[in-house]
Symmetry: C3
Subunit: 332 residues, 3 copies
């Protein structure tokens, strides 16, 4: 994977060292004040070839990114996606978690894909929980989901997924807490968002900001997502839903192909600002480049002490084997 050939355009949106990460406003948000149950939103998505053999989804022509834009809706809403295939490959868009008929399955199996140059509409619906029996309910659509190609290369979209055709999809329940910032992290074979250290995204927030992490797994390998100095609850929202919520609190979670999860943390809360690592905890994956930086700035946006040194170390010295001799001492 040659990250150097990624266009600057995509860097701006996916986040890179020294650049701001996308604000919530960059996503297709059905969660604003205008949203209400049953709203239908129409959006055009452009599937495009990118430099370096990558492909991406974007909300405007020429703006495709890896990963694609964050798509959001509330339970009950419908998303009508007009997918414009500007490439010379067959491809599609297949969502997890929401409702769709076979026509919107996104699989060649159901004859649901875009031929090269073709435009096609996919409809994703969502819903609230509904009674089953006793106190039980069949689940609604709320969740931290994702979408991806299901047609390029093989009938399972292996080629499209490998080249970057993936993104996050959030279905919120009424009353869910909205974040200040959002980061999409895709663990995909030996890469993060099809990039390897030190070119992995650096995500930035100010101390105390509510940051939503969207973690997605793809490809052929197994992974575990670990975030330093922060933790979350292993349930639907990542927070304890009540004082008696039995869910475990974790800071390391399996992130395997086709799975996704999300959670919110308060940046640096209880630990202070600084440069914190996120990485795959499989040792030869983190050593091989599946690591990145979560930069928690001071509350006023200024750089905390030591953070620039840490970033410099990450860019210059990391991910090579070292011994005690390699490091000429350290300290105050």
């Amino acid at each position: 994977m040659d990250d150097a050939v990624l266009s600057r355009r995509s860097l701006i949106v996916t986040g890179a060292v020294g650049l701001a990460v996308p604000a919530v406003g960059a996503a297709v948000a059905l969660t604003g004040s205008a949203a209400r149950a049953g709203a239908t939103r129409r959006v055009t998505i452009y599937a495009e070839a990118l430099p370096g053999g990558l492909f991406g989804y974007g909300l405007e022509p020429g703006k495709a990114t890896v990963p694609g834009p964050i798509l959001e809706m509330y339970e009950g809403d419908t998303l009508e996606i007009t997918l414009v295939n500007t490439t010379n490959q067959r491809l599609s868009i297949h969502p997890h978690g929401v409702d769709y008929s076979t026509e919107s399955d996104g699989s060649p199996f159901n004859d649901s894909f875009n031929d090269p140059g073709e435009t096609r509409t996919y409809v994703w619906r969502s819903r609230e929980m509904f009674a089953a029996a006793g106190r039980r309910f069949m689940p609604g659509s709320a969740g931290y989901w994702h979408y991806h190609d299901h047609a390029m290369g093989t009938d399972h979209g292996t080629g499209g997924v490998a080249k970057g055709l993936y993104g996050a999809l959030i279905v919120r329940r009424r009353g869910d807490i909205l974040p200040d910032k959002q980061f999409t992290v895709v663990f995909h074979d030996m890469s993060i968002n099809n990039r390897t250290a030190p070119n992995t995204p650096m995500f930035e927030a100010n101390l105390g900001q509510r940051v939503e992490w969207l973690a997605i797994g793809h490809g052929n390998l197994f992974h575990t997502f670990h975030l330093h100095a922060h933790r979350w609850v292993d349930n639907r929202t990542g927070m304890l839903e009540s004082i008696s919520d039995p869910s475990p609190t974790i800071d390391n979670k399996d992130l395997n192909p086709g799975s996704s999860f999300g959670f919110q943390v308060l940046a640096g809360e209880g630990v202070g600002p600084g440069a914190w690592m996120y990485h795959c905890h499989v040792q030869n994956h983190s050593d091989g480049g599946m690591a990145g930086i979560f930069l928690v700035r001071n509350a006023d946006g200024s750089m905390p002490p030591g953070a620039e040194d840490a970033i410099h170390r990450f860019q210059g010295h990391m991910h090579t084997t070292s011994t005690g001799d390699d490091h000429g001492g350290h300290g105050a």
Copy 2:
């Protein structure tokens, strides 16, 4: 794995293209109206050699299948299994989730197995939760479990598991909702139920039927189970146990060796009838044949539009690499 040599007998029970899947009545059900707490059921299981080098468990002589029959009980019930080993291999039956003494462990380690030709009884007990301290309880036996050989080939039953000696075991809690249909899906190395596409089981239900999926992992590889257009809650039952159940809703779950889970969906609910895929989401596993069809028929049992085409595509065209050129256009 040559699926062509599987006997027609086993196809009937395990489900195959164009054949009905087993009804609930085909399982050893302790959950009927006659069942009550503390009931003891005696059942004879026959371990038999099958064509193609496979082995299976069955409830009658000559009726062994891969996977074996679904065994069910309510918390508090006991299952006494007389295992008849009709093969020339040592083997056993080892359950997950229930109570057994060392004599019923099913492991050579505890001298608990059947020599070739030997008959031996294994006793599995179950129980309800009981108070620990405070509001807490030690768990009862309720769960979506499984059973498998623990003695053929190696002391861990690696040979027997590899050849098909596995099946689902359900322990229900009083008040659990019973399904209309049940499907057992074993992800085992690069196979589903020791079969690969397009010979993987096609599971069938009518629109709106309550379908229970029993997912089991075996072998040496990691997998993720994904079902198109349906989802479930990642808890004990697969449904929200109350309006405040904090569990996440998912449609893709790790299914690794020795693990199992189950859930119920309403077939096609909110998405309509059609041919839906279930598959391992590890890309080279799905491409390699770990995919199958969940055929949701119309409510009256008739075929929905497009389903036969999809099945034909699956049988003829799937699981080969394709490019945009391979597919000569499509659409209405």
Copy 3:
């Protein structure tokens, strides 16, 4: 991995065939009667080279073990660790789950490690849950966590983890039930606690004792932890937190690098005393030596019938391929 070279000292603490496992009192316990919210405990930990190329953490000079000592605290407590590096390698101690500033991160990335021969203090803080919005809470620190090196060999501590620099960390919530005994089980590449069968630890308890299992994953491979004849709830404590706790009950769980979980069982409860196996359920891992014995003695501490035979079988006959012919019959 040559387990024979492990020093006897370390065997005493980590548990081995025929030796008692560590009592709770052997751990750094902040959970005694003297503990209260906000307590600060200072402890010195010695990182030492061990025979066979291993490294360990210990609470006294010359007492390092693999895994290291169990560290415990209540939510709200602080642990100040003075890490003495007696080795000629750079190394550190990095915790999961608790709060620490960048100075205590334990990563070379944050210039937080011990050079060879250096002594350095790391501060780990913990806290209780605090209100988010609505009924929700941001999580406290309670959990079954772990700690490990993050600096030896690579910037991710791959060398230190591979050589044994890991251990369990428990943060308890007020009111949590305390166990009678504790066992740390680290699934690490093809080993358990850097040992393979038949030299894996034999954990012992008397019938009915409350045993706490601390399971940790490390290295490059995926694993599933299975315990025979016992089960637990897949939530924070391993027990049902109320009669309506929706969490599933399991006896097999993914245990992948960087992850950890814990649970309590009543030894032999409902199944009787005996020699029970715990093992990785990945077949070629268990066959390759990732298996051990949980010896449940009679309530008075005497050996139950058959247990010595089982242990003998494990030590002499296990983990070689066998056929029906290899075993000259058995039975009463």
